[in-house]
């Protein structure tokens, strides 16, 4: 009787879960199937597309690296210190995830436009962030940095404080303790946060399109092709970009897995 009930229960759950999986897979699969190999080949030879993909990868990668320099110490601080406003700060960090990305773009634009302090500072050295890869990087980082901070904070929280205190007791300086104990032990989470930030940056459209229509990152180019030529012309570039993203994602994941394996 019990066994029978359990089986029905399992079947219902598998069915419901299956529907969700299908919902994720079928639009993507449909898009892949609707694109001919010739179209794919042509698109991946198109210099505009290739340049755009390289730009997207490069800008997201550099934005991730650059912002990690501040994000990792902030995560460590949040993991190790208790203070009254900590919950508020944790909340602030999540804001970019919950607000509309077009609104985030407007905010960033106001922040870097020629009238702003930062904009004036930049134009004094002959730079204009609007319509510049730096503007794109800022927009990408704004919406993706919570992924890195949250993952790194979790990573540092998982490192027993006792180990750090032991290292101090053995005569190591706080800097040495951070680089030899805390950072290596939290590295798995940090790396996963870096990958998430990078991936989220690659896929950002809403914030970037407001800050910089040109130079055109790939998500913007997909939108532009769709707007100017329709679904049929937006499809191949979408497929190529998804494939590139997937390759990077899988490669980076495999890299972390391998490192984990070696550490075990």
């Amino acid at each position: 009787m019990y066994k029978n009930r359990l089986r029905t229960f399992d079947i219902i759950f598998i069915l419901l879960g299956g529907l969700i999986l299908l919902f994720i897979i079928s639009p993507l699969l449909g898009m892949f199937l609707a694109t001919t190999p010739v179209q794919l080949f042509e698109t991946s030879k198109d210099p505009e597309v290739v340049n755009s993909i390289w730009l997207t990868l490069r800008v997201s990668f550099l934005a991730t690296l650059f912002f990690a320099i501040g994000a990792i110490p902030l995560s460590y601080f949040l993991a190790r210190t208790n203070f009254k406003l900590k919950k508020i700060i944790n909340g602030i960090i999540d804001i970019p995830i919950v607000i509309p990305h077009s609104a985030a773009g407007i905010a960033i634009l106001g922040f870097i436009s020629r009238d702003s302090v930062l904009g004036k500072l930049a134009s004094s050295v002959g730079l204009n962030f609007v319509g510049h890869p730096i503007g794109i990087a800022l927009a990408m980082a704004f919406v993706s940095i919570p992924f890195l901070i949250n993952a790194a904070r979790d990573g540092f929280e998982n490192v027993p404080e006792r180990l750090e205190k032991t290292a101090l007791n053995l005569g190591a300086s706080p800097v040495r303790v951070f680089f030899t104990i805390s950072l290596p032990l939290a590295w798995k989470n940090i790396l996963s946060g870096l990958i998430m930030m990078f991936a989220r940056g690659l896929s950002e459209f809403g914030a970037v399109v407001i800050v910089a229509y040109h130079p055109m990152i790939t998500p913007v180019m997909i939108y532009e092709r769709f707007g100017s030529f329709g679904l049929k012309y937006a499809r191949p570039i979408s497929v190529v970009f998804i494939l590139v993203c997937l390759v990077f994602f899988i490669l980076l994941r495999a890299l972390t897995k391998e490192k984990e394996h070696r550490n075990a």
């Binding site: 027993p160 006792r162 180990l163 205190k165 032991t166 290292a167 101090l168 007791n169 053995l170 005569g171 190591a172 300086s173 706080p174 040495r176 030899t180 104990i181 290596p184 032990l185 550490n263 075990a264």
Partner: protein, 346 residues
């Protein structure tokens, strides 16, 4: 060399009140107390992990109360060993000297030396995740000792080890102490105090209620708590012979069981298991001695009788027996106990 004066700290669940303690060079000092009494907190205060609310810590006459952890020169070995999981055993031991301005060869020599002392040279290339508790303990000790601390703090170092390993580790701790390291060791186990320490302090509710030479504290507990906690008065140094006999305190020869080919150690004879009589008894007990009653101490429901048989033994008898046999001070009595009543502490 290490002097704590009036250390106090208050937490929500407990507090330390005016803890004052002094260790001299080469002391093996055991701090005895039930768990949760604040022993570990005291060690963490000495090591600088926690700031006390008040009080002062002097190490070699220097006030280190507010000194940074990394500049204190006291090494602490935690109960959970705190081995760095991402390093090999070698890297763990090398950690304190890794940035020192000495040659690589010298560093390697030092690691080897401390690995030999702690008997873990065969583990140097291993990662710590599959080491046993006893092995981790040795790695932690080697790693702390290589940093040449002025004082070694041990938090329940034997708590998680089985009997055989306990004996081995006690020998190691004795050796470390004999080589000149001053040790402060906290534990809830009075046997460790007997086996290792020259001085002992007993803690209750955040206060030190008795301290002094181990022998003195165990022989003359100041109150019922210490008496119950220290548990035994009859403990002696023993030299074992292969024929199930032992010479205790270089004076009295007794029969013992199964000393596992130890050549020397400590023994405990529980006062409750010693039988006292006015005349010589015929019994199966293999240890029978004639002695003189030195002192009779009445307690709530029983009596403690100190009998001198060349060494002084404390015998616990019931009120009923006291009424029946009417023991008196200075009287000659016979005393017997089975060899199985003797507990051997390696």
């Amino acid at each position: 060399m290490l002097k704590l004066s009036n250390i106090s700290i208050r937490f929500s669940e407990f507090q330390l009140k005016n803890v004052t303690l002094e260790l001299e060079k080469n002391d093996y000092y055991v701090l005895l107390g039930k768990s949760g009494v604040g022993k570990t907190v005291l060690l963490e205060i000495i090591a600088g992990l926690i700031r006390p609310d008040s009080g002062q810590i002097l190490l070699n006459n220097e006030d280190i109360t507010r000194k940074k952890i990394q500049n204190r020169r006291v090494g602490i070995v935690f109960q959970d060993f705190s081995i760095f999981p991402h390093f090999t055993v070698y890297q763990n031991i090398e950690y304190p000297i890794k940035n020192k301005k000495i040659s690589k060869a010298e560093k390697r020599k030092l690691v080897q030396e401390f690995a030999e002392l702690t008997n873990i040279t065969h583990l140097l290339t291993r990662k710590p995740n599959n080491l046993s508790g006893g092995e981790k303990q040795r790695v932690a000790l080697a790693r702390t000792l290589i940093s040449k601390p002025d004082c070694l703090l041990l938090d329940e170092p034997l708590a998680s080890l089985d009997v055989q390993l306990k004996g081995d580790l006690r020998n190691l701790l004795r050796r470390i102490n004999q080589k000149g390291t001053t040790i402060l060791h906290v534990t809830h186990d009075y046997e460790e105090a007997i086996a290792l320490s020259n001085k002992v302090a007993v803690m209750q509710k955040g206060k030190i209620i008795q301290k002094g030479l181990t022998r003195e504290v165990f022989k003359k507990p100041v109150n019922a708590f210490v008496a119950r906690f220290t548990g035994v008065k009859n403990f002696f140094k023993a030299d074992f012979s292969p024929f199930n006999t032992a010479i205790i305190n270089d004076q009295i020869k007794i029969s013992v069981d199964n000393h596992d080919f130890l050549s020397n150690g400590k023994i405990i004879i529980r006062g409750e298991e010693i039988i006292l009589s006015n005349d010589k008894m015929e019994s199966s007990a293999s240890n029978n001695f004639k002695g003189t009653i030195k002192q009779i101490i009445p307690y709530f429901s029983n009596y403690e009788i100190i009998v001198d048989i060349g060494i002084e033994l404390s015998v616990i008898i019931s009120e009923h027996s006291m009424l029946k046999y009417k023991f008196k001070e200075q009287r000659q009595v016979w005393l017997s106990f089975k060899s199985s009543a003797i507990k051997i502490i390696p």
